[in-house]
Amino acid sequence: MTTGNRVLDARIPAGPLADKWDRHAMDNPLVAPGGNRRKFTVIVVGTGLAGGGAAATLGELGYNVLNFCIQDTPRRAHSVAAQGGINAAKNYQNDSDSVQRLFYDTIKGGDYRSREANVYRLAQLSTAIIDQSVAMGVPFAREYGGALANRSFGGVQVSRTFYARGQTGQQLLLGVYSALVRQVEAGTVRMYPRHEMLDLVVVDGRARGIIVRELTTGEIKRFAADAVVLATGGYSPVFYLSTNAVNCNTTAIWRAHRRGALFSNPCYTQIHPTAVPQMGDYQSKLTLMSESLRNDGRVWVPKKPGDRRRPNEIPEAERDYYLERRYPAFGNLVPRDIAARAAKVECDQGKSAYFSSQSVYLDFADAIKRLGKDVVGDRYGNLFDMYREIIGDSPYDTPMMIYPAPHYTMGGLWVDYDLQGTIDGLFVAGEKNFSDHGANRLGASALMQGLADGYFVVPRVVASYLAGAKVSTVKADHEAFAAVEDETRAHLKRLLAIKGKRTVRDIHWELGRTMWDKVGMSRNAAGLNEAIATIGKLRESFWHDLALTGSAEDLNKQLEQANRLCDYLELGELMARDALMREESCGGHFRDEHQTPEGEAKRDDANFAFVSAWEYTGPGREPVMHKEPLVFENVELKTRSYK
């Protein structure tokens, strides 16, 4: 592996942690309201909480915004699928919550691999997100007195999660969407649904535009701007089976990476502990059962390996509530990475639910006894219904069966404090920057980060960039656009010209199997090296044996998926390389070689308290890794304990 020597400066404002974001506002230039703002065009790719929030807010401020999404309408961005809730340090429950505590929980939850200043800002902004969403008419759950209700999520000991039944993501996204359509009507935002970004155009070292394909017609188009914001979501479908939507992809950020944006911590992936178990090789995705279920559900396996009795036939004494046993302080509410790996440990010993060797029970019998069926139904009814449709039995009567599933990716493009990547004028927001969650994200923090970036951070940092950068005028007829457009066309043509025998799904399935087995919940050097070799061969197979039909000048979803898969086939290898480099266990990254005698993750702060930032060096060439050292001035690095 080659280690590079670029100095990555996060450009964190000076001063005490609590003052940095305010100081940033005072120390950076502004664009005055009115005509000055209208002169600037900002491209925002993605319409989820981060992208849609940024586009709408930049529109409200008076900038000229071009907003793109692959869905048929911005309201369907994948933020829609988040179920459980959104954190905020409101302390409405009077249980000693504070900005400081949310900051600390997030740093600790991320296993001390995130950047202090960014996380503190996130905690500070969390409260305003709730206020804003309420003002927009997001129907959060309420108490009888009319005040907002809260619940608990994994990894914390306070009740700070706001929710809208089991569809908090959809309700927050509809808030974003409402702000967005209002700006579309006002003429500040131009919306481009069913448009997919296929490349980034860089002129004189600055991000100046994108090449997109209109998915319904296949038309290739150029768009120029003064700044580009990418908010295109996570890359969990690199595992083929994940809780993500089937169209989630890495293409926008991967193509930006190939144009010079460094890629950070690609190996930090979150395996969510509570999804419906895998069933067969025909499957297209895994269905998430919200983490909020662990508030009232108890996780267990039979004590005896190979016990295939139905759960209701297994007496209490023969059940092992392994999370409560191993982690008495947090019990069923340990963070996601810990709950996921604990399930694997039990299943690897042959202790599993009857359904398959990769499934454990999540039992609501006690909760129903304590609270009654109606209260449990009120909290989780829609999830129980969804489960019954898939598995065929009801969690009201029989314990649910669950198993971990790829869910969220903490890694992403490297960004500084201003969310600016290593290409000037390229901003990255939401799940696809790397900065806030370290090596593991806490539940109900993705929605928080998406909206913090979208409503508050991006509008401010993009404005200060535009005010200070003195960006020259570049139009879409610039030769750089022509060159990138030609490359894009050639790429699509090449895909259609392969005319082999293997379908996109077939190759993607094999990639996913390799990633899950070797770069999944636990990793080791031998497995990772195997994965790198296998993925290389799979890329060969892709470029020689891919079967595609139809044309590039028409709606062609097989072509769209093939185009996304070729990027996953490169990203998968980088994830394995990053995991191989990181000779420690932290958060969602668990190396078999680095664990305590009790099987807990063993971090190596002396050698690995840094962010990896990978540089693309060309097709078939090994990437070069640069480092951003992580400096902790406000929290003491400790071994994470939830016992």
Partner: protein, 272 residues
């Protein structure tokens, strides 16, 4: 006519054989037709869309163009998928989307007819994919509360009674899939539009604009070519989120009040 199989190996496929009659249409203005396919080895746990994935793999292997259909989250929340399955929008099980249909609903040898959502304001793009941008254009006219980021008071500054919040939430669960339109003999979008109008009418935050909102959204619904509601109730029966047609009654009251009393004079908060 073509045969597909779900098994990855070479052995005889286990599971069900299903016959499909699928609508295929090359483009917006090109004529469409039903095409027959047969798929083998279908497991009970499979979803209907996974069966179509298998059909598509087989078509591509044979050098034929894949069947185009929209789907994304495949867990019933994004509203992307939408097919008329054997005559019923989102299939015969109540309260589910197309992607939630499991093959356990079917028997070996069954025939399933699959069509796109059909309505004038939802033009067909290709095969089973339709254009629902008319819904966005309706939302643009008033499906929001006019508040800029930065101007919000504390979240608990305005208390919302639990029943009002619950009613607003019931309406807000709409996923904008368009099944209500596809099921309605008049191709009315009333359930969709009323869900949004009702959500904001139940909340104090939505009160200042409730009159204007009702008038503007309904005007846009009409101009898109959606029909009016004549109380058939088909929309409620197919709605995957089981949104009640009581919302349509509420929408009518909002509209009548605003039209007769004046858009800016209807400002009382929440409920009735």
């Amino acid at each position: 006519m073509s045969d597909s199989s779900a098994s990855k190996g070479g052995s005889a496929p286990a599971g069900m054989t299903i016959h499909l009659k699928v609508w295929r249409q090359p483009g917006r203005r090109a004529p469409g037709r039903f095409v027959d396919y047969t798929v083998h080895g279908i497991q009970k746990e499979m979803s209907l869309l996974e069966m179509l994935d298998i059909l598509n793999e087989d078509l591509v292997r044979k050098g034929e163009e894949a069947l185009e259909f929209d789907s994304d989250c495949r867990e019933g929340i994004c509203g992307t998928c939408g097919l008329v399955v054997s005559g019923v929008a989102h299939g015969r099980h109540a309260g589910t989307t197309t992607c939630e249909i499991r093959m356990r609903q079917y028997q070996d040898g069954d025939t399933i007819t699959i069509e796109p959502f059909r309505a004038g304001p939802f033009p067909i793009v290709k095969d089973l994919v339709v254009d629902r941008e008319s819904f966005d254009r309706i939302q643009r006219k008033g499906g929001f509360i006019s508040t800029n980021v930065g101007s919000a008071p504390d979240g608990n500054a305005v208390l919302v009674p639990k029943d009002a919040a619950d009613n607003a939430m019931d309406a807000a669960t709409c996923i904008g899939c368009g099944a209500c339109v596809a099921a309605c003999p008049n191709a009315s979008a009333s359930l969709f539009v009323s869900a949004k109008i009702s959500q904001f009418a139940w909340l104090p935050q939505g009160a200042p604009e409730r009159g204007r909102r009702a008038l503007a959204m309904i005007r846009q619904m009409d101009s898109e070519g959606f029909g009016d509601c004549s109380n058939h109730g088909e929309c409620e029966a197919v709605c995957p989120k089981q949104i009640s047609i009581q919302n349509i009654a509420k929408m009518r009251r909002e509209y009548i009040k605003a039209a007769w009393v004046g858009a800016d004079k209807v400002r009382s908060t929440g409920g009735e």
